[in-house]
Amino acid sequence: MSESESILRGHFRDLPQQRATATLGMWIFMATEIMFFGGLFLTYTVNRAAYPGIFAEASHHLNVVLGTVNTAVLICSSMTMAMAVYCSHKGRQKALSIYLILTMILGLGFLGIKAAEWTEHFQHHLVPGFNFQFSPAAAAGPAQLYFSLYFAMTGMHALHMIIGLGILTFLLIESFRARYTPEYNTPVELSGIYWHFVDIIWIYLFPLLYLIDIHK
């Protein structure tokens, strides 16, 4: 079938080998991402263990409602992405495109809410390096550590979301060309893995950054 011939790349024996290769490659990449974010999680752990009280106080400047809403937004986007992958397996082209669009809208929604939060932080002088102010002054050092971690971690996460949106855009365009069929849907499947991973990162960021001692 000429369709298969155009999909199969020259150095592979057959399509199953190509697919197994691509899938393993994406999972190995996920392992690198675990370690990459892991370095940031370690930095967080060390600093929170050293300054539990100040971390709690600093985190109370975050908007827990927006954080919770954002968590729900990402979970919805994972649902729509999973459905997009499902549709690509079943050859349902229109549904695939619709689910991709929904995922992108939710992703943009997440970034929009994040941008609103960050703007608010900036206005309250909570961005390290940009006229950071925190009271009491004695806690300013560790508080700045907290916010540095907050911006570093949510920033790195947002960067991965933006890249994810770029990938989804590419998938969407290809889906309009009916490129993904039950025989060839690997790019959608693997992009789904990436998207879900970014969701998992947020699942950990949310309680660690937003929910420190909010009962106080």
Binding site: H11, Q17, L24, I28, F29, T32, G39, G129, L145, S148
Partner: protein, 557 residues
Amino acid sequence: MSSSAQTLALPRKNYLNEGYGVKSWLLTTDHKRIALLYLVVVTFFFFVGGFFAVLIRINLLTPAGTFVSAETYNRLFTMHGITMVFFFLIPSIPAVLGNFLIPMMIGARDLAFPRLNLLSWYIYVAGGLFTLYSQLAGGVDTGWTFYTPLSSVYANGHVVAAALGIFITGFSSILTGLNFIVTIHTMRAPGMTWFRLPLFVWTHYATSVIFILGTPVIAIAIALVAMERIFHIGFFNPAWGGDPILFQHLFWFYSHPAVYIMILPAMGVVSEIVPTFARKRLFGYHFVAAASFGIAVIGFLVWGHHMFVSSESVYSAMSFSFLSYLVAIPSAVKVFNWMATLYKGSVSYQTPMLYAMGFIGLFVIGGLTGLFLACLGMDVHVHDTYFVIAHFHYIMVGGAVMGYMGGLHYWWPKISGRLYSESLAKFAALVLFVGFNLTFFPQFVLGYMGMPRRYHSYPPEFQVLNVMSTAGASILGIGYLLPMAYFIWSMRYGPIAGPNPWPATGLEWQTSSPPPPENFEVTPVVTWEPYDFSGRPDLMAELAAQARAERPVSEGQ
């Protein structure tokens, strides 16, 4: 497969003449051509790093050390370390020999992701250029270890540019590691089961695991240092409530396994060379394969031994010390297995074998001195002295670089289709060995006597040994320049090698030299065990012919 050079000719179609012109090289996805692209840049950085070393050794000829200023000296050892570690040692064997050989050794047409392979080269070059820029613009003086808060707050060199260069290059490593792991899993030829793989492949798999799981952590460490410098935040600055030791944890979590990235591929090379020149299968294949993984895994659990005197918890230090002793065991297993391979073998001393034997001896010295350093009490005495420098140069130069040189000599006929001058090569190997030991053995003594590292000047009683060391370095330099010369010469004028000049087992020797672009005319089906000399009557006949001619094949005309 006659050993007579007159009947051999270069194959008409091979990967070298498959397309000429800059584009066919810069846009290639052929793993063999990418390996050569890496060879060129890796060699360039080797001589850049060597240049800094020359200046360091000249400065250390006199106790006052006034050849350069103290500031400049700090920049020299920093740039020597950065260039050698990140731009030579880590890529060298994997990116040059690994890229070239792994698909061939497993019977594949190319790596799993050829375009990612090319991208990894471009990323390496980009990172290298960034770092080179930082060096030309005045350099960095923090040491290649970038310890905070010096690097993040007080240093006034081009820390961010150097850090960015290393950050970028890290992605090159990650892509290479990813490519190797996936390739070894999914691209093996029919019949090439795990325990038929050459040990070179096993060690590169283990190395790739380290690439994947370690490199991202140093990426974060460097990124945080850059963030601290740019935005003045205090992750590692005590004045802002940060902890400098956190940087050391993040840094060494990668940088210790990084030294296993440097040595495992060299061990793989030795595991290929020794059976070939002992005409005997490798002893304890399964143990050597398992030891490669043992080194990779345990190697991730020992990083705290770099921080024994950095106010690390004593209990933590004790466990890191214990684990550091543990990691020596798989290395020792490999050494014993190489020795057992030689026992009752039919040993010949061609150049690759000289390098392999040099590796084994020098690696043992370097490795044992590593145990001295793993001992807490001893380390307190010799930490930050020339003892440490001698230890790691024995492993990295006496070990890894000799492994690299041995590998280049061993596979040069396959890569270029030509033989180099064996007598000149033997001479260069000898010069290198003598020069190396003269350079670095005195440093063990100096360190034990108390000469600190990273100081441009030293007390006068240390001068004699320092002069010996510098003299050795100049001899060592000749040992590295000679191969450059005769390799380049051989590409035009060397005798034609034929497919299997040594001869050796292994799939890569069953295709022409240089290989065709697709590696094999027909996909091989593997039914034999690795290093199985006794099962290969054709190789035994070739060896007998060489013996009858009373001249090893590499003498050529």
